[in-house]
């Protein structure tokens, strides 16, 4: 199995990189969160494929499940923040969030 490990890693890296590019380029707060989700997908793919390569798929599965639960918590918190920000600033542009600097 381990000879296909690199294949999964190739796609995992692609996902992470796509997410990072999105984080750097996009300005809509929700878009940024979607980009974070993409990064997360890449990482969970990496985690599971590593377990597969080591013939530890059950453990890796447990890790991925925990990872997903954490992700949900994060996304819920982030979305709550975004809604609050929308209420306060009237927009969703990350560029308007530059009051704190220096």
């Amino acid at each position: 199995m381990s000879n296909t490990w690199y294949l999964y890693l190739f796609f995992a890296a692609a996902l992470v990189f796509a997410g990072l590019l999105g984080l750097l380029a996009k300005r809509n707060l929700i878009k940024l969160l979607i980009a974070i989700e993409i990064v997360g997908k890449g990482v969970s793919l990496l985690l599971l494929s590593t377990g597969l390569a080591k013939a530890h798929i059950l453990t890796a599965q447990a890790l991925v499940v925990t990872y997903i639960v954490i992700e949900v918590s994060l996304v819920a918190t982030a979305l709550a923040l975004i809604i609050n920000i929308r209420r306060q600033t009237g927009g969703l542009d990350i560029r308007s969030l530059t009051r704190l600097k220096g």
């Binding site: 990072l20 984080l23 750097l24 380029a25 940024l32 990350i94 560029r95 969030l97 530059t98 009051r99 704190l100 600097k101 220096g102």
Partner: protein, 622 residues
């Protein structure tokens, strides 16, 4: 006498400091009595410890070579005694002088806290306690200037703290280096050759010690503090305690920790620092217009003699340097206390507003004149003896140039004290100052005691030299070396002493020259004068305000002095105060601009950091 007793000089003043701080304002008398009594007890123990001389209190502390280790031996007991003596005099003096000061209570507490730290520093036999006590002095230094009550006091306090902090940190660095070179932090076990890494350690520790003593270029806070801090503080810290501790440590560093050789690179380095400090600081003193500022520049200049003496690394020079340390502490303390006495009654220390106070304040005047003569090195006072020893030491190393520098310093020291003494205590009364009375006994007595000691240590120099100084030098001299410094101490008829006398005469001539050019009448000659005849004539020759010799006769010199003041002293001040600040602000500004609040920017830093770190770890691993 058990080893535990060594904790007393540290703990007692610390406890007293807290007690003094807690006593309510209404119980001022109790407070004063407690302070004087406490200082008296410390002085008593100072004598007791001096008679015991050999005691060590060491308890394991942290492991890793860090022990709480106090050691009483000849040198530290000598310093301990001197510290206790000055503490006592200052405590007595402050009861009156600081009576109405707005924060007198805090001042007293700081004095005793300083004493606790200073005693600890003198006794410490392990680097870690030493650094601890040493750094503690930094805090009290800041505090004592900060409570000066003038608008600029806070600024000066920060300046002092930054400069002294720099010196202290270089001391810490030096300690760390020396510790790793010597392999132990126990001070009595260290003796290394000052080469390679150890040389760096030596230089760093030298900066720490000489900086504490106020050598150039770490002196610029002292003249400022003279104006901004209570004058009692000046007599206490820069004049006495800091000199004692700084030179004590310098002597330990150059004699015990490192084996300084006469003519070696480190020895020459020390002599250069010493000679430069002597000459440059005294030239700056000449142009000062305020008595306290003038005295403070001399406090810097005289350090040069001590450093020069120790830097010679020959027995007579070292002995001279250490002897000069104790002498200087006495007369400079006396001079500052006299200035304080004048300030107490006349309300000012500006030279041009003062004059003729000799009649109103005869005892203060007497004390001032004796101390001024002593600092100028007039026969047969203590300053003469120790300066002669330094001259001899400098000549013995073969570097005549340093002796010449020291002589030049002697000329201008005397010249500027002629100016100061004359304008304050002699000449005509001015209208700026009303009729005044002599200061109360608590102020005058400490001055007179110090003046009397100056005479005693000069005339009967056998006492301090044999009992205090020679045992310090003895372990470092070659076996069988001639260590009797007393025989010719007051001998006027040798080349060195004659040159010194010539220097003093030259100082008179400068005045005379200036006076004649001015063409004024010497009506001061008719004034009765209870001092030495030579001085009297010199003062009589100068007629007007003491600035005139420079205005009329030595314009060139004044130009040089001013130029040096501007070209050396102020730039150093500028470096510490302006340039560092400006550079810091510039750098800060650039960094602040980078934090522009943009998320993508911050994320990019993180990713760039990741790539760089991965590369760095990978490359370094290979």
């Amino acid at each position: 006498m058990t080893p535990k007793m060594l904790l007393l000089p540290v703990l007692l003043p610390a406890v007293l400091a807290v007690a003094l701080l807690l006593l309510p304002r209404a119980l001022r008398l109790v407070r004063d009595a407690l302070a004087v009594a406490g200082a008296g007890v410390l002085l008593y123990y100072g004598f007791l410890f001096f008679s015991v001389k050999d005691l060590r209190y060491a308890v394991p502390w942290l492991g890793m070579g860090i022990d709480f280790d106090l050691r009483l031996y000849h040198f530290s007991s000598f310093i301990l005694l001197a510290l206790a003596g000055f503490l006592f005099l200052i405590a007595v003096y402050a009861t009156v002088k600081m009576k109405d000061a707005p924060r007198g209570r805090e001042f007293m507490a700081y004095v005793f806290l300083t004493a606790a730290f200073a005693n600890g520093a003198a006794l410490a036999n392990n680097f870690v306690p030493l650094v601890f006590f040493w750094e503690g002095l930094l805090v009290t230094l800041y505090g004592m200037i900060a409570i000066g009550g003038r608008p600029t006091s806070g600024r000066t306090a920060v300046k002092a703290l930054l400069i002294a902090g720099f010196c202290d940190f270089s001391l810490i660095l030096g300690v760390g280096l020396l510790w790793s070179v010597a392999g132990t932090a126990t001070m009595s076990e260290i003796a290394v050759e000052p080469t390679g890494l150890a040389a760096a350690a030596f230089v760093l520790m030298m900066i720490g010690a000489a900086g504490k003593a106020g050598a150039m270029p770490f002196h610029t806070w002292i003249p400022d503090a003279a104006v901004d801090a209570p004058v009692t503080f000046m007599a206490f810290l820069p004049a006495a305690f800091e000199k004692l501790l700084g030179i004590y440590l310098l002597a330990r560093v150059s004699l015990d920790f490192f084996k300084l050789r006469p003519g070696g690179a480190m020895s020459v380095l020390l002599m250069i620092v010493g000679a430069a400090t002597i000459v440059l600081a005294v030239l700056m003193a000449l142009v000062q217009k305020d008595l306290k500022r003038l005295l403070s520049y001399h406090a810097v200049s005289q350090v040069g003699y001590m450093i020069l003496g120790i830097g010679t690394a020959v027995p007579v020079g070292i002995a001279g340097g250490v002897f000069h340390m104790i002498n200087h502490a006495m007369y400079k303390s006396g001079l500052f206390l006299s200035a304080g006495s004048v300030e107490h009654r006349a309300g000012t220390t500006e030279l041009k507003k003062l004059g003729g106070l000799r009649r109103d304040m005869p005892l203060t005047a007497l004390g001032f004149v004796v101390c001024a003569l002593a600092i100028s090195g007039v026969w047969p006072l203590n300053g003469f003896v120790s300066k002669e020893m330094v001259f001899h030491g400098a000549l013995e190393t073969g570097y005549t140039v340093f002796a010449v520098a020291a002589w030049i310093g002697a000329i201008f020291t005397f010249a500027s004290f002629l100016k100061a003494g004359h304008s304050v205590f002699f000449g005509e009364r001015t209208t700026d100052v009303p009729e005044v009375k002599e200061s109360p006994a608590a102020i005058v007595l400490p001055i007179l005691v110090l003046a009397a000691l100056c005479v005693l240590f000069g005339v009967y120099n056998k006492l301090p030299l044999d009992r205090l100084i020679t045992p310090v030098v003895a372990p470092h001299a070659e076996a069988g070396a001639h260590l009797d410094f007393t025989g010719h101490a007051l001998d006027l008829f040798n080349v060195v002493a004659l040159i010194s006398v010539g220097c003093l005469v030259l100082a008179f001539l400068i005045h005379r020259h200036g006076f004649l050019k001015g063409g004024r009448k010497a009506y001061l000659a008719s004034e009765p004068f209870h001092g030495l005849p030579g001085i009297r004539q010199a003062y009589d020759l100068a007629e007007k305000r003491v600035f005139d010799p420079y205005e009329q006769g030595v314009k060139a010199l004044q130009g040089l002095s001013l130029a040096l003041y501007k070209a050396v002293d102020r730039p150093i001040d500028f470096v510490f105060e302006k340039a560092v600040t400006a550079a810091g602000e510039k750098f800060t500004g650039i960094l602040k601009k980078a934090h522009n609040g943009h998320y993508a920017n911050y994320l990019a830093w993180c990713l760039a950091g990741l790539v760089i770190l991965a590369g760095a770890i990978g490359l370094l691993a290979k």
